[in-house]
Symmetry: C2
Subunit: 323 residues, 2 copies
């Protein structure tokens, strides 16, 4: 039953999302590594959303929002503000449907990200790198276009879309004891909770967060949302705070939040690149980093890790910075 | 029928090799990229030996040699000289069989490579970085241990082992017009010719080589082996010359050899990392580099590319050097 006040997505919304987006996304592979199994004493399964369309899981939620619009709604296009994977993903999905996608991005965003958004057909309006400028500019863009606002994570359509990842994950593995995913705004973790609480309620959902952007960890302990102003972390996808919808899932379904230092995140990232031969973002390394520092908790368990994305600037890898 | 003089491996040797090594290797996946298909106008299939055990296709040939030994032969172990993937692969295979593996490596070889060989249980004897020192030291090691010498590529067991890769490749794709692989000593190309000349003789085999180490290209044009002294290229797996066994396959079965510049190789490597999200070596990028500069030749074709390995020094990527 939906909570009308919050418009919380249901398991059926997730199933509908999966049917809707299947033609537009990859069913990404699950990889394993005997080296990392030995190192951790656990049996690890990596759901590789770095191989996803547009390079990240975000395309699931974005596609669900875009392809769920009526033709009349779709004609006005979609819009959002994001300097990251959501901007890419929404542009990709809108391009597939052939509708306009307006993205407000700070003028200081990396040129590579802007190029990628334009490569997918997104229309960029630049703002100053401040919350007030972003909000003003975004209001103008939305008013001018009438486009549907697709929030990067605090949107039931987006959460239902992200939940499709865990459904595939369960189909691709022979049972898991727990699933770990990184947490920023909480869209992926919320989708994971949404799906697993019905499909496999015995599976623990654990969120992994950078110590330097541990607002979800502190919110979890305090029992209410704590939002930081401008956290700094190498895991640049995880700087945003929880919002009411994602807090609902975190506070009711997540069994724990573990944190890792910047050094631990970079070490885990390099380990995955080196041993698994895959390119993934710093954010995606946080779950393995928390396993490596809490070995006893995971030893002997079947542990799923969601590799959330692979859009990294190859010219600026964390371990070559300043080298 | 075997050519006794040269001891040329046969298709049946390849089939026997595949049965022998199957428990010890991965059946590596074949990946595709809609972006690279659009960019090249061809339909590309990437056989990802970067995901192979020990990080490279070399483990196929090394495992075939190691597991083909009688118990009496195996008791004396194996030995080789190599500072690259063959050293890793032979150490891995010997470790799986529980027999000693002695490797002669130049003392100037990267510490990471030495650590990796030791990690698989290989025993390293260092030599000076010269051919004469390597030969002297290797003769001493072989005499002292009585171990079976497994040459990195000029060995029928090794070539038969490498041929198993193309057999899987054909099973995993719905027919190919051509297969491209990088060429250094010619082990992978020879195995590819061995397998495809019987299994799918309609498939063209094309070798891809760095311009700066184009001895195979010049040998192919001249009709006899030309060996360079010490070529320098970022594709460090491809510096070694052809030998009699590999020349046999190159001169009789390869339809062409294409070359690419250092810049083109690095660009192709970065493109694969960025768009396919996989970690692979510079050597593995040479086939795509040659396709990008010869688009007309490949447009509309179904083209297989062998990604030969993924053992790259993450601290010294070609595009971050001197940055």
């Amino acid at each position: 039953m939906k909570d009308i006040a919050l418009n919380i997505p249901t398991y059926d919304d997730m199933l509908a999302a999966h049917a809707r987006i299947a033609p537009h996304i990859h069913r990404t592979p699950v990889l394993t590594s005997s080296f990392l199994n030995e190192l951790t004493g656990a049996q690890l399964f990596f759901k590789c959303e770095n191989f996803q369309k547009a390079g990240a899981f975000k395309v699931r939620g974005a596609s669900n929002a875009v392809f769920g619009l009526t033709d009349a709604e779709a004609a006005r296009g979609v819009c959002t503000h994001s300097s990251g994977n959501h901007a890419l993903s929404l542009s990709y999905a809108a391009g597939r449907r052939g509708i306009p996608c307006n993205v407000v991005m700070p003028r200081t965003a990396p040129q590579a990200k802007k190029d990628a958004v334009r490569g997918y057909g997104g229309i960029i309006t630049e703002c100053e790198p401040s919350t007030s400028s972003r909000e003003t500019v975004f209001a103008e863009v939305q008013a001018a276009t009438g486009g549907d606002f697709v929030h990067p994570y605090n949107d039931p359509r987006v959460i239902a879309g992200q939940g499709t990842c865990s459904r595939e994950f369960m189909e691709q593995t022979d049972g898991l004891d727990m699933v770990l995913a990184p947490i920023g705004g909480g869209g992926m973790i919320s989708g994971t909770c949404l799906t697993l609480s019905t499909l496999a309620p015995e599976v623990e959902v654990i969120a992994a967060e950078p110590e330097q952007a541990d607002d979800a960890y502190r919110s979890f302990k305090a029992g209410h949302i704590i939002a930081d102003d401008a956290p700094e972390t190498v895991a640049d996808g995880l700087k945003v705070p929880l919002k009411d919808l994602t807090w609902h899932f975190v506070s009711t379904h997540v069994s724990d939040i573990l944190t890792a230092s910047e050094e631990e995140i970079i070490e885990a990232m390099k380990l995955i690149w080196k041993r698994m031969k895959i390119v993934m973002e710093p954010s995606s390394a946080v779950p393995l980093a928390t396993i490596l520092k809490n070995r006893d908790r995971f030893a002997g368990k079947r542990v799923g890790l969601i590799i959330t994305g692979g859009n990294v600037d190859l010219d600026r890898l964390p371990w070559t910075q300043g080298a």
